[in-house]
Amino acid sequence: MMDNQTAPDNGHEIVRLENAWKTYQMGTEEVHALAGVNVTFGKGDFWAIMGPSGSGKSTMMNILGCLDRLTSGSYYLDGKDVSKLDDDSLSELRLRYLGFIFQSFNLIPQLSVQRNIELPLYYLGWDAVRSAQRARELGEQVGLGDRLNHRPTELSGGQMQRTAIARALANDPQVIFADEPTGNLDSATGVQIMEMLIKLNKLGKTIVMVTHEPDIAAYAHSRLHMKDGNIDRIEGIHASNENSQKHRTGHREPAAS
């Protein structure tokens, strides 16, 4: 583990956790939100992370989304160890390589649909004309071409989530993280959103989704079930891959890290 795994072994993986620990101090007690997780996601995969609340799936999402840092262990994003990066570098990674979709959409209510979509481009330093152009294209792509000047509050849930998807696509990300993307939507709208995600996946985007609904998780190629801060089991087309084997080694004592 020390010597032979410092670099990714192939060009197909995008995300890899090695003996990943995330520990919170709750008073005098230590809580392990992640307890030595080993997992690899390939480029172009569509994963669903499932599990009961407290299983560590949100923590997993935050770590993978570069919103949080591991207590110990390594996280390789596209072959690069990002677990020791500082706050600015993580922001830079989110800005350039990652896209986010949230359960509660997380649009900025004061800004128009177009301005919300433009937001990542603003931080990427695009000029106003190019940003507007790109935002319009993305808006049309998600079927909101006629809603660009509306405020998010004037939209339906599905429209808001489609705005969020357009925003997540603005920086042409490598990985899209979706945190309960259909959680606030009725089932028909939820299906529309899932179909949109499948389409994006077909276009080559890696998608990592957190959900507790089995029928939503069914859209993903692979399902990763978490329990007590570690991987419980893996289903789907990647079930036979190295993850299940790593999963067993992941149960070693932390002394190994």
Partner: protein
């Protein structure tokens, strides 16, 4: 490129502030009044001091004025019974002063007395100033008509007189009066010119000329009127012998004024038994007035500064509330990839825009108030460039100073927590 980026950031800041128009306006109000009062106070202070300075400048910053005063003990004795008091500057003093100092450019002696004067049908009491042509160079005044006293008038003991405009008007003298005969006391003088006059106090000394002056050659005054003056005070006759009432000394450079004044004082001390003379150096007064002005401005400025401080605290307060309210927005921006310093920048720009804009409105207010003061009270007010730039600079500084803490708070927001924030 960089400039357009800054412009865009500012535009976004303004956009954001416009989302909460009333709140932004109320937040700004503190700075508006703060800057307004600073500008107004400074211009009122500046106006008052410039008025004083202008008065003092009329005395000439190169000049030293030596005047005769009755010494304290002389004043005591003179009230008891009628006797002749002899005091003051002498012709010899004038000669010695003008010959002894290398740094003195010229001197003008003056003999002052009040005499009933008559021009044609009109009569009034004028202040007769017996002096030399130097007077007109040391107390430069505009010409209205005719000419001033020349050296030839002194040498030839010519009975000529130069009227001042005010006195001339009272006597109904016009340009055509040049060449007419003016009776001063019992003697006849030819009016050779009319000049403008200034009047008033400068600091605590009288400026050399008065508006009822009539100027005659010193030698003429001496031969016609002598050195002894009668004063009638409460029944007792009083006699004074004063040769010269005033000597105005002009030095070559203002920086020598005080040294020469000290030299003159020392020299007079050698020849006068009593201290029957006084020196005043307008430059020293000028310096003193400027020091007073500075103190005045500092006091006024700090009072107004307190209101600016209150305005700044108001901004900070609102911005802190705004950061809390916009925690979720900050979280979203951070998740998307905004760096901490970009969040700091965003909030800082909003505060600076707010305070600068408030500063600009305040500036308008601060310029308007002095105009109204001048209009309604006649008090002089002066808005200086500093008086404008300083408050603007201060309002920007306030924006940064009081904006930095809320902005840092905003940047400290943890995106994970903020995204869950409702």
């Amino acid at each position: 490129m960089r400039q357009t980026r800054i412009a865009r950031n500012i535009a976004l800041g303004i956009e954001n502030l416009l989302l909460h128009k009333l709140r932004s306006f109320l937040t700004m109000l503190g700075v508006v009044f703060g800057v307004g009062s600073v500008v107004a106070m400074l211009s009122v202070g500046e106006g008052a001091s410039q008025e004083a300075l202008a008065q003092i400048r009329k005395l000439g910053s190169n000049n030293i004025i030596v005047s005769s005063v009755k010494s304290a003990e002389e004043q005591q004795t003179s009230t008891t019974h009628s006797h002749m008091s002899i005091y003051g500057l002498t012709y010899a003093d004038h000669r010695r002063i003008s010959q002894s100092f290398a740094n003195i450019r010229q001197t003008a002696p003056a003999k002052l007395m009040r005499k009933e004067s008559r021009l044609g049908e009109r009569a009034m009491e004028l202040r007769v100033v017996g002096t030399t042509p130097e007077w007109f160079r040391l107390v430069p005044r505009e010409f209205v008509a005719g000419r001033i006293i020349a050296q030839g008038d002194l040498d030839g003991r010519a009975p000529v007189a130069v009227l001042t405009e005010f006195g001339a008007r009272k006597l109904l003298a016009t340009e055509g009066s040049v060449g007419q005969t003016l009776r001063i006391g019992g003697d006849e003088f030819e009016v050779i010119g009319i000049i403008r006059s200034e009047s008033g106090q400068a600091g605590n000394i009288q400026i050399p000329d008065q508006e009822i002056d009539v100027y005659i050659p010193l030698d003429v005054a001496r031969t016609y009127f002598g050195d002894i003056f009668f004063k009638r005070t409460s029944g007792s006759d009083e006699r004074e012998k004063v040769e010269l009432h005033q000597i105005i000394v002009q030095v070559d450079d203002p920086k020598n004024a005080e040294a020469v004044a000290a030299g003159i004082e020392r020299m007079l001390g050698l020849f006068h038994k009593k201290k029957d003379y006084a020196l005043s150096v307008p430059l020293a007064l000028l310096k003193q007035a400027e020091a007073t002005k500075r103190t005045f401005n500092i006091v006024l400025g700090s009072i107004a500064g307190i209101s600016l401080l209150v305005g700044g605290i108001g901004i900070m307060n609102i911005m802190l509330a705004s950061v809390t309210e916009r925690t979720r927005e900050i979280g979203i921006r951070r998740a998307i990839g905004a760096k901490r310093r970009q969040i700091v920048y965003q909030f800082l720009i909003e505060t600076v825009v707010l305070s600068m804009f408030g500063g600009m409105i305040g500036l308008g207010l601060g310029v308007l108030i002095p105009l109204l003061i001048t209009h309604f009270s006649g008090m002089a007010t002066v808005v200086t460039v500093n008086g404008i730039l300083l408050p603007l600079f201060i309002s920007m500084a306030i924006g940064i100073l009081f904006g930095i803490y809320p902005a840092m708070n905003a940047a400290r927001v943890d995106p994970i927590v903020a995204l869950r924030h409702e």
